[in-house]
Amino acid sequence: MSRLSEHSLFQLTLVRMREFIREPEALFWALIFPIALAAGLGIAFRNQPPQVLTIAAVTPRLAEALRQEKLLNVMELPPALAEQSLRNGKVVFLAEPASDGSVAYRYDDTNPEGRQARMLADQAIQRASGRRDPVAGSDRIMREPGSRYIDFLIPGLIGMGIMGNAVWGLGFSIVDARRKKLLKRIIATPMPKHYYLLSFLLWRLLLLVVEVGVPLAFGALVFGVPLRGSALALIAISILGALAFSALGLLVASRVRTIEAISGLANATMVPMWIVSGVFFSSQRFPDLVQPLIKALPLTAVIDALRANMLQGAGFAQMAPQAAVLGAWLVVCFGLALKLFRWR
C-alpha cells in the first residue's frame, strides 16, 4: 500500500464512492434520470414546423384563390358536407359565396386556428381579386439554437441535479450513519472529525464532473444546446453551487435521526425550489413582489448563472450576483450546520 491509500481522508472518500456506486438506485437517480428527462422533454417540446391549417371552400373559384396560400390546406366540399366538417372540427374555417357577391367566412372566433385561417384566407382572396399591398414585406426565417425549450431546460436540469445529489447524498448518508451509530463509532477513533465531512465534499466534487458533464454533453451532442460562455466560469459556478448545496444538505441532516424525517425535510427544502427557481419554466412568471425572494434562492442563482453562461455567454463578471448568493448560502448553512451537528 502506498502512503496515499493509507491516509484516512483517502479511505473515507473511497468509502463515499463505494457506497454510491454500490447503490444502483442512487446511480439511476443521479445520472440516468436527468438524461431521460431531458430527452423526453426535449422531444415533447421540440419546435414544430409551421403548421398547415385545413379549411374548406364550397366553390372551385374560392378554392383556387385560397390555394395560393401555402399555409392553408384547402378542401373543396359541397356545402352540406363542408358545414358538417366545420362542426366536427375536420376543418377550422369555411369560405362560401354570400348572396350579394361577397364572400362569407365561417369559423369559431374563440379558436386561434380559426382566427389565423381567416387572416390567411382573407389575404389570399383579396390578392386573388387584384389587391396590391402598398408595402412589400419579405420573410427571413431564424431558428437558432439558444432560444428553444431544450436550451432553457438543460441548465435547469443541471442545477436541479447539483442540488438534488448534494442534499440527498449528504442527507441520507449522514442520517443513515447516525441511525446505525456509525457516526458515534467513527468519532471513537482518532480520526480528525473534519475529515469525515471533508470526504463528502471531495466525493461531491468528483461526482460533479459527471453530474454536470453528462447532461451538458448530452444536450450539446443530441440537441445542439449552445455553450457560449467561458468554460472556466461554468466550472467555477458549478463547484460553488455544489459546495453551497452540500452545506445545505449538511444543515438539513445535522440533527435528524430517521430516514423518514430526512426524506420529509429534504423534500420540504427542495420541492419549493423546483417549482419557483425556473427549472422547467421561467421564474419570471411569478409576481414581481416575490421576485427578490426567488432570486435569493440558491437553485435560482445556480440556474440563472448557468443559463446566462451557456446561452448568453456570460463570464465571471456577469455571474457575480449569483455567485454572491451562493457564497452567502454556503457560509450561513455551513456555519449553522457546524453549530447544530450531532455525532450521535
Binding site: 493509507e6 491516509h7 484516512s8 483517502f10 479511505q11 473515507l12 473511497l14 468509502v15 463505494r18 457506497e19 454500490r22 447503490e23 450513519a177 446505525k180 451509530k181 456509525l182 458515534k184 463509532r185 468519532i187 471513537a188 477513533t189 482518532p190 480520526m191 450521535r344
Partner: protein
C-alpha cells in the same frame, strides 16, 4: 507517580451521570489493573453502557474522575484515542463495504497497529475477506467489530456487550477470541448481562444495579461472599408446599418460590438433597422435577437484589 499511573489501566472515582430525571450512574468507583479483564455485570439499565461510554470519552460525566493509562480526556484526548480499542453496543458498520475495506478504513485512523489482513486473521474472518458486511451473520459482524477495535493495537480494549444477541456457538467463538487477547496481556473492560460470560472471561467483576456498584471482586470471591455453594431447584406440581418447613432443613440459606418451582440456596448439597426428599415425603408432596447447580454470579445477583439479571 508515573509508574503507578501506568500500572492502573483504568481508574474511575465517584462517577456520576444523570439524564433528565434518571440517574444512570450514581457515584461509582472502579479500578482496572493493567493486563486484567474486568467485567461490568448487571441487568439492562443498570448504567453499564453509560459508565463504559464515559470511560471511552464519548459521554461527559456530570462529576467524577476518569484516568486511563495515566491520562485524562480533558488534556490527552488525542493520545488516548490512539491507544484505545472500542467496540460499541449495536454499531452497524456500512453494509456495502467488504470486510477488508472496512478494516482498511479503520486502520487508516491509527498511526500504528496490525494491517487489515492481519486483523482479519486474528478474528478468523479470512473466508469472508471480500464479502460485503451486509452478508455476514451476527457472529461474523461482531468479530468484524472486534477487529475494528484491534487495528490500532490498543493498550486498553472496551467491549460493550460483545456477545449480546448471538447464538451459543457464535458466543463461544467470540469468547475464545477475547481470551486470546487476554493472554496477549491487554487490559480489557467489558460489560455484559450474561453471568457465564463474566465468569469465564473476567478476572474481576463489578456487579452494577441502578447506577451503583453493589459488589466487586473476583467471580470466586463474589460467589463465596453469599455463603452458598449450591442451588437446588425443584417443582412439586400444583400442590401447596410448606416452605417454612423446607427452610428449617440444616444448611439451607434461602428458599423462594418462583414461576411454579422452588429455589433453595444450600451450603452442603449431599446433606440438603436427602433432607429435602425426606421433608417432601413428610409433607406428602410429589416431586416432579429436581435440579442442582453450583452457585453462579447470577445467584449472587439474585441474593443481592432479589431479581434476576435478565428480568426486565
Amino acid at each position: 507517580m508515573q509508574e503507578q499511573a501506568t500500572k492502573a489501566g483504568l481508574r474511575v472515582r465517584t462517577l456520576r451521570k444523570a439524564y433528565k430525571d434518571v440517574v444512570a450512574v450514581d457515584g461509582i468507583d472502579l479500578e482496572v489493573h493493567a493486563g486484567e479483564c474486568f467485567g461490568l455485570l448487571g441487568p439492562n439499565g443498570a448504567g453499564k453502557t453509560t459508565t463504559i461510554e464515559i470511560c471511552e470519552g464519548l459521554t461527559e460525566p456530570d462529576s467524577g474522575e476518569v484516568e486511563l493509562l495515566g491520562l485524562h480526556w480533558k488534556t490527552d484526548s488525542e493520545a488516548l484515542r490512539q491507544r484505545l480499542g472500542i467496540q460499541l453496543q449495536e454499531t452497524q458498520l456500512s453494509e456495502k463495504l467488504t470486510v477488508l475495506e472496512t478494516l482498511q478504513l479503520f486502520r487508516s485512523f491509527f498511526r500504528q497497529g496490525p494491517g487489515a489482513e492481519e486483523a482479519i486473521q486474528k478474528v478468523q474472518l479470512e473466508e469472508k475477506r471480500d464479502a460485503r458486511v451486509g452478508s455476514l451473520s451476527g457472529g461474523q459482524k461482531q468479530r468484524l467489530a472486534l477487529a475494528c477495535a484491534l487495528v490500532g493495537d490498543p493498550d486498553l480494549l472496551f467491549l460493550d456487550e460483545p456477545t449480546t444477541g448471538l447464538d451459543p456457538q457464535a458466543r463461544r467463538q467470540l469468547w475464545d477470541l477475547i481470551e486470546e487477547f487476554k493472554l496477549a496481556g491487554r487490559t480489557i473492560l467489558l460489560t455484559t448481562h450474561y453471568m457465564e460470560e463474566a465468569e469465564r472471561l473476567c478476572d474481576r467483576v463489578a456487579i452494577m444495579d441502578h447506577g451503583k456498584v453493589i459488589s466487586q471482586g473476583t467471580p470466586r470471591e463474589l460467589i463465596a461472599s453469599i455463603g452458598v455453594e449450591h442451588v437446588v431447584e425443584f417443582s412439586a406440581g400444583n400442590t401447596t408446599l410448606d416452605l417454612a418447613g423446607i427452610g428449617r432443613i440444616p444448611g439451607v440459606r434461602d428458599v423462594r418460590s418462583e414461576n411454579g418451582s422452588v429455589l433453595m440456596q444450600v451450603t452442603e448439597l449431599h446433606q440438603a438433597v436427602p433432607a429435602l426428599l425426606a421433608e417432601l415425603n413428610r409433607q406428602g408432596v410429589p416431586l416432579t422435577e429436581l435440579r442442582t447447580h453450583s452457585a453462579t454470579l447470577e445467584d449472587v445477583f439474585v441474593h443481592l437484589t432479589g431479581r434476576h439479571l435478565r428480568d426486565e
